[in-house]
Amino acid sequence: MNIQINEQGNIVLISVVEERLDAHNSTDLKTRLLSLFEDGKNNMVINLEEVRFVDSSGLGALVSGFKNASARNGSLKLAGLQPQVQSMFELTRLHRVFEIFPTSEDALASFQP
């Protein structure tokens, strides 16, 4: 999976540079997130602006990251959802679980006190 990781202070910005987040590559994302948690990174923004399609496995990988961040008193926020991807969160009611921002800049700014 092609992802870009940028650390900005104690926040990690993870940009998924894939058109699809599905059962083929979601395990890879989950593993990369777990590796960041093991390194002590607990505050994350996942930028999905390049992702046009997400399936239940992709949602599962994001839920896994969300649960791990919360368990470590951190938070995982989402940014840049395309309309059809946003509709997947609404269909599964996960839009009530995640904090979702229009852009990664907005999500990063939300961590500021």
């Binding site: 058109e19 699809r20 599905d22 059962a23 083929h24 399609f53 399936d55 239940s56 496995s57 949602l59 599962g60 990988a61 839920v63 896994s64 969300f66 649960k67 059809q84 509709s87 997947m88 269909l91 599964t92 009611r93 996960l94 009530r96 679980v97």
Partner: protein, 139 residues
């Protein structure tokens, strides 16, 4: 809509082909001669249903002898019928509870998504495997 389309696809039992089967579904949705609804939404939904159903077949077809997944897509008399054949042990559609958002499960949303999008979903046993049949009326 009087057009008739029948596609019969056989793919290796590997997740790397999910994108291909999804693209086939999207292209079919965009090429429909008469469809008055939201064409982009239909394209996404067919992509999603095919992706979820094929991933499900891969997951449940764990016998080493089964190396392929067969998918048929039929459009006839306003009805879209997708069938995904697997050679696995199968599962019980009725025992799959809808995901509980408060529990934040990582798995179990695939069949729920299919049931939400399609009008009718049946999973039945065949000789040597199972078939997941999904039907939706298009307007």
């Amino acid at each position: 809509m009087s057009e008739r389309i029948e596609l019969d696809i056989t793919l290796p039992k590997e997740t790397r082909y999910l994108g291909l089967v999804g693209q086939i579904g999207e292209s079919m949705a965009r090429s429909l001669e008469r469809f008055s609804g939201d064409r982009e939404e239909l394209a996404y939904h067919i992509n999603l249903v095919l992706t979820e159903a094929m991933a499900n077949a891969i997951q449940h077809a764990k016998e080493p002898s089964s190396t392929e997944v067969r998918i048929t897509i039929t459009l006839m008399h306003h009805k879209l019928i997708i069938k995904v054949f697997d050679q696995g042990q199968g599962f019980d559609l009725c025992t799959l509870a809808p995901p509980d958002a408060s529990c934040l499960q990582e798995h179990g949303r695939g069949i729920f998504i299919i049931q939400t999008i399609m009008d009718r979903v049946i999973y039945r046993k065949l000789k040597g495997g199972h078939v997941l049949e999904m039907e939706k009326t298009l307007h």
